[in-house]
Assembly symmetry: C2
Homo-oligomer: 488 residues x 2
């Protein structure tokens, strides 16, 4: 009896796979507030408790089940309501079902013939999302994450200005400039470096006191760069910055782009999901003026990892910029319309199917389900901000614009001070210590970071609409309790 | 009762999820030879039979189950033994179990604290694979596909020669040249364009009659490019080319790279899995001399989509080239050793966990399980080639070196000809027609393509070690039967 061939046989694998499913149902899928978010182990401890070694011979099914149990035991429960650590959280049951099936079908979405259903789903989702952005929007790509999608957009901006960069490279071009908020996502820098533009040529535009680009500073920096002989090719406006959730003023930036013939890219990886909410859609007003836009359904909409969309207005540019026409995949003498072979406009070749989970969640909940999800999240964020403002133990870093609530816990000795930030070096140490404590007891995972010289602060952010006001009270009480004990 | 929050509740979702699982067990996981590989529909037909529309309101569980049934019905069964269309196939039960659990845990592998188990698994797998490559190999990345991994390597080559490209870009650099086989994967061109090197600066090195780089031609082209003022920075050697499965002569290419101070990258996306086979490992002799290497476990090893590794010899270069130190993820005051936060050396930020399925398959089968898998596949490929040679109805395109068997079916009127290729334009139309017939009846999915002016030929290639000699006989009989009927 072979155990190596990749074809499941009922008599060998059915009982095992059913046990795996049972384990998932029992220990992962239905996480509750009574479970810990994580069982913290240092890397050294985990190495001791978990057999990571890979060997010559395989293990029995019993041993493998034990390994899966341990994998679950020591992994973070990102679906837990108190996992409020990243721009993703929650575990959507419909998204999960679709992921399971995606894995069972194990497709690669490059040609219609290999992935017919998923190809048409991709076309449908891109069409619908484009329709929600604005008229003339038509085309897009599924990307393995928002960073990659931003990189694709930066390259489109360069290609539109200098189409021969595709064939001849950038060594004959002038120095190119990408303008972005000083609070933009770091992928803009990483991809500027990767593309041969250079991270120093990402020009940091100043932000105001709540984190939005100051348009006059963008104008000023464009002028300076032009004077130095560089060519500003694009501006990146962020809708929902990573830390503060700020929304850059799109219309003013769009005017600047128009004036200087610059590509306007909108990084709405985090904020873009708002297209589903009638109540909050206005935050995105002006997005239709952009040339490209990134939205990550795996963020606000809680679609499982990863689901990231790059959308473009020009319906031809993706194919022009990325096509290579590989003949072993995109044969010219196919028995169907080759325009359904989406792969040629992608930078990738083989590609995991990321559409199905999103399409299926949309089908299951309807657009209104996503809207309810968003509106609930926003209510909870608003309540969180109110509570921070109402409690003397906490201080808001800056006014909330979105889901992100940035705040400090104040040790007793700071609460009466009038200028708390004068004690910044002390305050800087507070959040990491409280967080380390929470992680060690596995109660709450809540992120912190410094920003623009401000001492470390917490960032509350959730994509799990099962979170309630009671949860908010618990989280703040919990931080306060730990803080009061640690900082007498 | 809300149906929008991304937290599964037993009373609402358990029955539904269990039905989904049952459906997968019944209709996908245990595909047999009696099933069709696909139920062919043109895009227009599929649009008619499948409700792709997205609406304002959600659907009932019953309706959703119907949708899942249709998704399965109209999707290609890539786990079917007669899906021999791509460089991936099969459905590994252990890989599948691990994927299901990966989805349930829904992690993003950038920091240790968010993905402790998966972080240590990544370190373990990279360490083991490096050990199998050679001494001094130490570091690597999981990538969302081989194309992306090749792109990362091209950028590393440029960065090693011109480290300030990261900060200052490529506009002050000379024209850079990447040398690769004229049969290399098209991702080299796509990423040369993307990186600002330019696809025209990928210099096509001639191949011999079985598809291997001719080293003397590489030498010649380096000299020509240098004379023109360009700088050859790297050579790409392919181990297992996409179409013919050719293995470039590494040692000779390594000597050339040494002489010209060029980075040697090995694209072993398809061939690299052979490190597991004692019997066939010798095909990879010399790989330890490279600077970087790509291997896709989702190809030869039949790990589920996607699993792609980029490995490097220099233990510092990934961090030097790609680090940005984003403070909201990689805080300097963490309560554990920050070197376990792998994300900073990645170009991506959020990242799907691709390690677990590979690690778990390795654990389940052991290295010897992968070896058996490979050796079985190679036996079947050898038998396929023999049969092609033994049967007058078929003609081998070029001698097999690996899993790929490239061959023509010959219509009767061509079988007696001495120089068949003089009738190339007729022969060119044969494979597409036979293939279209097989797809329409859903029996076999077998790829074809032209190459270097040769008329369209079939490429047999399988990663499903459940395939037997009897299957080979069936496939060839089947092609012959269709061909004989179509081309009297």
């Amino acid at each position: 009896m072979d155990n190596f061939s990749p074809m499941p046989r009922p008599e060998v694998h059915e009982a095992f796979l059913k046990e795996v499913v049972e384990l998932m149902f029992k220990n992962v899928v239905f996480t509750t507030r009574r479970d810990k978010v994580l069982l913290w182990q240092t890397p050294e401890q985990l190495e001791e408790h978990f057999d990571f070694q890979l060997k010559q011979t395989g293990e029995t099914h019993d041993k493998l089940i034990g390994i899966l149990k341990n994998t679950i035991k020591f992994s973070v429960k990102t679906g837990h309501p108190y996992f409020i650590n990243q721009l993703f959280s929650g575990l959507d049951p419909y998204g999960l079902a679709a992921q399971w099936l995606t894995d069972s079908l194990n497709a690669s979405v490059y040609t219609y013939e290999v992935a017919p259903v998923f190809t048409l789903m991709e076309k449908q989702v891109i069409k619908e999302v484009c329709r929600m952005i604005g008229p003339q929007w038509e085309d897009g790509l599924f990307c393995p994450g928002g960073s990659f999608a931003n990189g694709i957009a930066v390259n489109l901006a360069r290609f539109r200005r200098y189409p021969d960069v595709k064939s001849h490279g950038a060594s004959h071009l002038p120095r190119l400039i990408v303008l972005a908020s000083e609070e933009c996502h770091y992928s803009i820098y990483k991809f500027a470096a990767f593309l041969g533009i250079g991270e120093n040529n990402v020009c940091r535009v100043l932000t105001d006191d709540i984190g939005r680009i100051v348009p006059s500073d963008m104008e000023k920096k464009i002028a300076e760069n032009i004077e130095q002989g560089a060519v500003p090719i694009m501006a990146v406006a962020t809708l929902g910055t990573t830390v503060r959730g700020a929304f850059d003023p799109i219309n003013e930036i769009a005017e600047i782009c128009k004036k200087h013939n610059m590509w306007l890219h909108i990084d709405a990886a985090w904020g873009g999901g708002l297209i589903f909410s009638q109540k909050h859609r206005a935050k995105l007003n002006g997005i239709e003026r952009a040339n490209s836009l990134v939205v990550n359904p795996h963020k606000l909409l809680a679609v499982p990892q990863q689901c990231s969309l790059l959308l473009v207005k020009d319906p031809k540019i993706l194919l022009e910029c990325y096509s290579r026409g590989a003949e072993y995949l995109f044969q010219k003498d196919k028995h169907y319309d080759r325009s359904y072979d989406l792969g040629d406009k992608y930078l990738q070749c083989g590609r995991k199917c990321d559409v199905f989970k999103f399409w299926f969640m949309w089908k299951a909940k309807g657009s209104s389900g996503f809207a309810n999800h968003i509106d609930t999240l926003m209510d909870v964020a608003e309540y969180f901000e109110q509570q921070v403002n109402n409690r003397p133990e906490f201080l808001l870093v800056s006014e909330r614009q979105y889901m992100n609530v940035c705040f400090w816990y104040l040790p007793r000795y700071l609460r009466s001070k009038t200028n708390i930030l004068e004690n910044g070096s002390q305050l800087h140490k507070v959040a990491p210590q409280i967080r380390a404590f929470m992680i060690k007891c596995g109660s709450v995972m809540l992120g912190y970071q410094p920003l623009k010289g401000l001492p470390n602060f917490f960032r509350f952010v959730s994509q799990n609409s099962a979170l309630t006001r009671t949860d908010v009270d618990f989280i703040l009480d919990h931080i306060q309790e730990i803080g009061d004990a640690l900082f007498q």
